[in-house]
Symmetry: C2
């Protein structure tokens, strides 16, 4: 009648370390309770990866309690008991009557729980920027005696510096990413439907690499082929590949919710002079950017190293050069862009995203996932850094 | 240098019909401009399916203009030109300087566009419930002379009744769903890793059926196997299937953003008496529910027909029996639940979702996607309505 704990991706001590960092930040912000509603932050603090975040749910981190309390829809509570490190009494399922109900929803259950914990008159942190206007209003209206503090990205900034255990998991994800790129090089051929190639590439992302399957979430993938190479976010089309087609591929293996993004450009046939020059400029820019990665450099330094080199080659890129990367793809904190003065520290991880969509109908992609080491950089992805010419 | 229009899933007249319905609703609500920010509603009104909604974007429907105006990140504009029915002058790409910028974001570009259109002092509809608190505040602060009206789900309610063209697309999606269920019955075997089965099932969802590939978005899939059958939303685990394992599978084929959900329960070995009785009760309940689907019945009638039958069999289900279904899986409007008095009309489509998570470690799933016809029901999914016993 009760569900067992499943195998855990991380030991309890790892979650204790993460929670200690969050509680220290809560102390600085003078709040006693923090409501975490961002799905990736919930994964980070608990190990939970089920796809239930389309209805309200909240993780309450309290300075008074060692373990956080997770309030979610009753039918999802067994997944939380199974997947997270917490004892079962810390998982509270709210009733179905709160689903599709115009008067009350799951946030009412979170607020009730806060009141039961004696936190309703204290300092309460909310991730306001990601929360709907309606939900934010409800917290304010139903907690009139609380001091509500915007804690958007408070946990997300802590996530930016990974532990060695997290880095291991991201290395596993990166091996899957590499395998999927190599599978793409095998299956992209003239006359093949994009969907048939995607089925194979996605198969590799799910089957994984080195005996470790891709886990727990449907992978991210974009395949933008001629004439769509000037844009980054089309999943795939109903078309077939043709002689002369260029294919821009972005994907990422996933382990326990952690990604490692990679982008490579493929070409059926021989590249144009412009594409080859752009590829050479981007490779040189990538190496220059990686060359300045070390503790003490800033995100801005990394981006500008890239921009300087490709400008020397006669090209420009108008978008940022990447972003903090980990659970759930993009961590909305540090960006590798001009003016972002975030200082690099050991075990920060980034997707160095050098996709360059120059014209409406022409772009090129190249990226790696890296971590900052004690003295420089470790590139986690390792598929050949080339323009894949296929026939 | 310019990108061409891609093949369109629907003719222009179909989008004109949808927009006319939206503009009629805008007239009733006395607003001159509607800002559509929900990704599925944007797909509905334009044909756009790229995955760019993680940064702000907005579709402005104005009573003064035949075509809507789509304001999105510059790098995503070519995808919008390629995928949508609108002329290119209606696609406005905003600059990269608005990405990762603490002071200004893409909603500032949407507001600038509204001002340029002369709408800043008129009635403006927003999908407030899905919009972040920060974004809602920005619209209110930067449009002090506008009358802002909450239009959450205004478009979504219009989507509930499909056209015959949309039904054709959902039939194609349903054929893909059926094929994926049959593929699952082939590949779920003792000793097989869940990830390897998922790779095959997802492969079928992407390759499609009857020569029509799954398109444009990564498919939805959940595989909850013993001991996880008491919960619905785990994607899959790192485990292997074992003799005696029960597997609850939910998935949906996708065509042009439209889904057709289906759930089936699989068992390696012979079912327990309890599981067999529950299966029989659920099948009888499913048939009873489908038996009352016709124009004029309510959502509540359908749900209660199901509840009555399974209670007669000695079971209960505490969650709703389904929801409006179409683009992007769940349409947050009508629910098949007790007390939802939404009246059924021809070409409404629902996911009749009879998943029943009874104990922490025991549940059962069964679902179909149906449409209301002129006199009754058409079930779009057609995989065998059985408990799949595998060996």
């Amino acid at each position: 009648m009760t569900i067992s704990k499943g195998p855990q991706a991380f030991p309890r001590t790892e979650y204790e370390r993460r929670l200690a960092a969050v509680k220290s930040e809560m102390g600085k912000r003078d709040i006693e309770a923090l409501i975490v509603s961002d799905a990736s932050n919930i994964t980070y603090l608990t190990g939970y990866t089920a796809n239930s975040g389309y209805v309200p749910q909240g993780l309450v981190v309290s300075l008074d309690e060692e373990e956080p309390t997770f309030i979610l829809r009753r039918q999802d509570a067994p997944a939380a008991i199974h997947q997270t490190f917490m004892q079962r009494s810390k998982i509270i399922g709210y009733p179905e009557a709160l689903i599709g109900n115009p008067d009350k929803d799951g946030y009412d259950a979170v607020i009730d729980c806060l009141s039961d914990m004696g936190s309703a008159t204290r300092g309460i942190g909310l991730e306001l920027r990601g929360m709907s206007a309606e939900a934010a209003e409800k917290f304010k209206a139903r907690l009139p005696n609380a001091r509500i503090v915007d804690c958007t990205n408070a946990v997300t900034w802590i996530r930016l510096v990974k532990s060695d255990l997290e880095i291991s998991v991201m290395r596993e994800a990166a091996s899957i990413s590499d395998a999927a790129i190599m599978r793409a090089a095998e299956v992209i051929r003239p006359g093949v439907r994009e969907a048939d190639a995607i089925a194979e590439i996605m198969g590799t992302l799910v089957r994984g690499a080195n005996g470790k399957p891709g886990t727990t979430r449907v992978p991210n993938i974009s395949l933008c082929s001629s004439p769509r190479t000037g844009t980054p976010h089309i999943s795939w089309s109903e078309d077939v590949f043709r002689d002369g087609s260029q294919i821009n591929l972005e994907l990422g293996g996933m382990r326990h919710g952690y990604c490692a993004g990679i982008m490579r450009t493929f070409l059926i046939g021989a590249p144009s002079d412009r594409l080859r020059r752009l590829h050479e400029a981007e490779i040189a820019g990538l190496e220059a950017a990686l060359g300045v990665v070390r503790p003490g450099s800033t995100c801005s330094d990394v981006a500008n190293a890239f921009y300087r080199v490709i400008e020397k080659h006669g090209f420009k890129k108008d978008s940022r050069c990447g972003y903090a990367h980990g659970i759930g793809w993009l961590e909305p904190t540090a960006s590798l862009k001009d003016g972002d003065m975030t200082e690099l520290k050991p075990n920060m991880t980034f997707h160095l995203m050098l996709g360059n969509w120059m014209d409406e109908d022409f772009g090129y992609v190249l990226s790696e996932t890296f971590r900052v080491t004690g003295s420089g950089v470790e590139v986690l992805t390792s598929a050949p850094r080339k323009l894949f010419e296929l026939s």
